[in-house]
């Protein structure tokens, strides 16, 4: 579907919010929580933060919740009843105010969750999520979307992309069929674009490194243990980077309860020492340097090779959240410039 340009005023956006809420939709948007800005359920446009570069966490929780029930079980009289989660019972969500990088991340998540074994819960959630992005007027030193095929005004992954034109008006690019349906469901709110443009409203982000150098360099550097040890020496092996990341999809499955209970899916991180620990006791990635290497290989080599999509959108969250300033961008630059 070809992108259609429209415009919308802030007060019309407020009406959209009311309509969505009245229709029982949940709205997830960047909101001030203490000193941080993060995605949370909001009930008005006024609650949505506007003066941030990026939120702490990504909105991936809309399709890949932090904790998700897969099914519940109850045993009685020697028999076990299982009640599976039904995608039909899920509510609708509007993710509002995410950045173009976050919107692009849905494709990376979908590549994994609909790969060889389609995940019905993920697909149901994705189908029930409307993605309304906001382009970036500002970037910071941690952003590198343009190096990985994205940009401050990129529309990929958004159903509608808004750009703040000032004086309470937004350019609204209607990107997808779902976007078109959103416009149709709210007659009179979206107006003709009348030649409005976003280019001079976007941040300038020069590509930080040459992406096509990364995968080949990684292949050459793979066995250079000293290189990975140097890079990862200060890494503490926590899960902050994986959890704030919009494309990280690793999960654990835990059964909780006894006679009755639930099977839950929850986030996991390749950085944890336990991640590849076998029950035999052998751990193919016993060193943090191997786990750090894996993180980069997975995002920049394995995923492109197998799913034809990058596992990174350059949002920079991992670097901002990292307690020891691992700064993935720095490491990627070092890899791109490494002499074989």
């Amino acid at each position: 579907m070809e992108t259609e340009n429209k415009s919308i005023r802030r007060d019309a956006l407020e009406k959209l919010f009311s309509q969505w809420l009245a229709g029982g939709k949940r709205i997830l948007a960047p909101k001030k929580i203490g000193d941080k800005i993060d995605f949370a359920a909001v009930t008005s446009l006024a609650e949505v933060s506007r003066d941030h570069v990026q939120t702490v966490q990504s909105p991936k929780t809309s399709v890949f919740p932090r904790v998700e029930e897969l099914f519940s079980f109850k045993s009685s009289d020697g028999r076990v009843q299982i009640r599976e989660r039904n995608g039909a019972s899920l509510g609708e969500t509007v993710v509002f105010g995410l950045r173009p990088c976050d919107a692009a991340a849905y494709a990376s998540l979908a590549a994994i969750f609909t790969w060889d074994n389609p995940d019905s819960l993920f697909s149901a959630r994705l189908a029930k999520t409307t993605v309304i992005g906001v382009s970036c007027a500002r970037a910071d030193e941690y952003c590198f979307c343009t190096a990985v095929g994205g940009g401050p005004g990129a529309t990929a992954g958004s159903d509608i992309l808004l750009t703040d034109l000032g004086s309470g008006e937004y350019l609204a690019e209607i990107v997808s069929e779902k976007g078109r349906q959103t416009v149709q469901a709210t007659p009179g709110q979206f107006l003709p674009a009348a030649g409005k443009e976003k280019e001079n409203r976007l941040a300038k982000v020069d590509p930080a490194f040459a992406l096509d150098k990364i995968a080949p360099a990684l292949a050459v550097l793979f066995d250079d243990a000293a290189f990975w040890e140097e890079q990862s020496r200060r890494c503490l092996g926590c899960g902050a980077c994986a959890y704030v990341c919009p494309t990280c999809a690793c999960f654990d499955i835990q059964d909780e309860g006894g006679v009755s209970g639930q099977r839950l899916r929850c986030w996991d991180s390749c950085g944890f020492s336990l991640f590849t620990l076998h029950t035999s006791g052998h751990n193919p990635r016993a060193l943090q340097s191997q786990r750090w290497r894996q993180r980069l290989m997975h995002k920049f080599a394995y995923m492109p090779e197998r799913q034809q999509v990058l596992g990174c959108v350059g949002c920079g969250r991992c670097s901002r959240a990292c307690p020891v300033d691992m700064n993935i961008l720095e490491h990627l630059r070092a890899i791109a410039e490494a002499k074989p």
Partner: protein, 267 residues
């Protein structure tokens, strides 16, 4: 700063240590941990207000230990951490020496645990007046207010374990949460599991935490973990007159007892 770099160069050139664990320039004008192994690289070392991370956490990492004897650029918290680790038989004189840094830029070489102890005795290791005041503020809330406050805080917990990873005293090679027969602490980051995790970690640090604050700084969602630790530091001192990180050979407050410990809550 030059004194720090000079001392580092000296130590490395003489092979007194194999690595200097210190601070270097980080992103956004901040600082980050650096591991200097050659005298020529000592210029990477800095010390300023951005240098707050408790670098003692690296003393327990196998990847760093294998580099050899280390000199740690040590804030007061890091010095107390070294003593606490020594009291728990995790480090000895042969493992390290400390380069105690002062705000003014002076550096004091503390070559033995005994020297570190003598140095630490001069420090005011108590909670500051501001910290005590903040603690009292939370203690003064009603039961329901406290319950609501902490439920909201823990609901944000991601179970990323950044707090555990950043804490030098959480050095167990197999943490309780990694025991799954039974799965004692729930893995998923639901409200109940988050409460259990944070309570357990606070209790495992009772009598041990040196109040470096790294857990709170590491938390991506800004949960004020320091409040839990400071509460226990305050209670352990009030009840047992014990303070962690002051001596290289001492018992852990929670491993010993006194016949006259308080009983006023026991029927």
């Amino acid at each position: 700063m030059e004194t720090l770099r000079d001392k580092a160069r000296e130590l490395l050139a003489a092979r007194t240590v194999q690595v200097i664990i210190g601070y270097g320039q980080g992103s956004g004008g901040g600082a980050r941990a650096v591991f200097v192994r050659e005298a020529a690289d000592a210029d990477a070392l800095i010390f300023n207000e951005a240098c707050r991370q408790n670098l003692a956490v690296y003393l327990m990492k196998p990847e760093v230990r294998k580099l050899g004897k280390a000199a740690l650029v040590a804030t007061p918290s890091a010095l107390r951490t070294i003593l606490q680790l020594a009291a728990e038989n995790q480090v000895g004189d042969h493992d390290l020496l400390a380069l105690a840094v002062h705000a003014a830029g002076e550096v004091t070489l503390l070559a033995t645990l005994q020297a570190i102890e003598a140095h630490v005795t001069e420090l005011d290791a108590d909670l500051s007046a501001a910290e005590k005041a903040e603690l009292r503020k939370y203690e003064a809330l009603s039961l329901e207010q406290r319950r609501e406050y902490w439920q909201e805080q823990f609901s944000r917990c991601l179970k990323c374990y950044a707090c555990r990873a950043a804490c030098p005293l959480c050095y167990c090679s197999r943490c309780t949460v990694e025991c799954n027969q039974p799965q004692w602490i729930p893995v998923p980051a639901h409200d109940l599991g988050n409460l259990e995790w944070n309570v357990m970690r606070a209790m495992h640090l009772a009598g041990r935490c040196v109040n470096c604050g790294d857990c709170s700084r590491a938390c991506p969602v800004a949960i004020p973990l320091y409040l839990l630790n400071q509460k226990l530091i305050s209670d352990v001192f009030a009840n047992f007159n014990a303070r962690s990180g002051m001596a290289a050979k001492t018992d852990n407050a929670m491993s010993i007892f006194k016949p006259d410990d308080s009983e006023d809550f026991i029927r």
